[in-house]
């Protein structure tokens, strides 16, 4: 199992989630977050905005589905032809165990 944390633009959230659901990855958790990246935020005039709103999507998927999920997020989360600064990041971490509470079982 792998935990995929994808940080995407808020306006791309619905599209990304719809595409994931269409590909069979319906289960997801999302949180509204703020953050900045390598560019140290956005500078408009003299004002620096370093708490830029993003949406964090959390998904736990079996190891073999990792590439599919990442491909969908990369393709839909991108803006413009070659992507733009601020389109987000994807982090992948290992998950050792998963329990489903409603069925009281181990596994997704």
């Amino acid at each position: 199992m792998l935990l995929i944390r994808a940080i995407v633009r808020p306006e791309k959230k619905d599209e990304v989630l719809a595409n994931l659901s269409g590909a069979g990855f319906n289960a997801a958790t999302m949180v509204d977050v703020v953050g900045r990246g390598k560019q140290k935020g956005i500078k408009i005039g003299g004002m620096v905005y370093d708490e830029i709103p993003k949406v964090l999507i959390l998904m736990v998927v079996p190891d073999e589905d990792k590439d599919k999920v990442i491909k969908i997020v990369l393709e839909t989360g991108r803006t413009g032809a070659n992507g733009t600064f601020g389109d987000g990041k994807i982090f992948v971490s290992p998950v050792e165990e998963v329990y489903t509470i409603s069925r009281n079982t181990k596994g997704l």
Partner: protein, 139 residues
């Protein structure tokens, strides 16, 4: 050292907190999140409930298609519902106890939507107050 991420019903936040204290794990971090789970692919499962909700929702004023779309999304799992994400840091040997306590506090008879528990490995932790690292930093 393990990180336990538990996604639970909003209403069960209190019960989960109580269960954690009773297990001897007082420290946790909680965030309000939106979540969804498995998609219901077999429409016969939700048909009864769908008809019931539609009969309540359809009136002369609202758009029938829109009502139908919303009711279906509400039942088939494609809509996001508010949930609480608990993050608990624990020693390896305490993990089964905590998982059992959270499961017990959150299990309902609905059969769906009670949440999921993920267990992730943690390489290091630091307590800011004292600078302790590793297992000593947890509790």
């Amino acid at each position: 050292m393990k990180e336990i991420m538990a996604i639970v019903r909003m209403k069960r936040t209190g019960a989960t907190k109580k269960a954690l204290v009773e297990t001897g794990v007082a420290g946790f971090t909680a965030v309000k999140v939106l979540g969804r789970g498995r998609l219901i692919t077999d429409p016969t499962v939700i048909e009864d409930c769908r008809q019931k909700l539609l009969s309540m929702g359809v009136d002369d004023f609202s758009d029938t298609d829109e009502t139908e779309r919303q009711v279906t999304a509400f039942l088939d799992g494609s809509r996001f519902f508010p949930r609480r994400l608990f993050t608990v840091l624990a020693h390896d040997e305490d993990v089964p106890r905590i998982v059992e306590a959270i499961t017990k506090a959150n299990h309902t008879d609905h059969g769906i939507g009670d949440g999921t528990i993920f267990i992730l490995p943690v390489t290091d932790a630091v307590r800011v107050r004292t600078g302790e690292t590793g297992e000593a930093a947890i509790w």
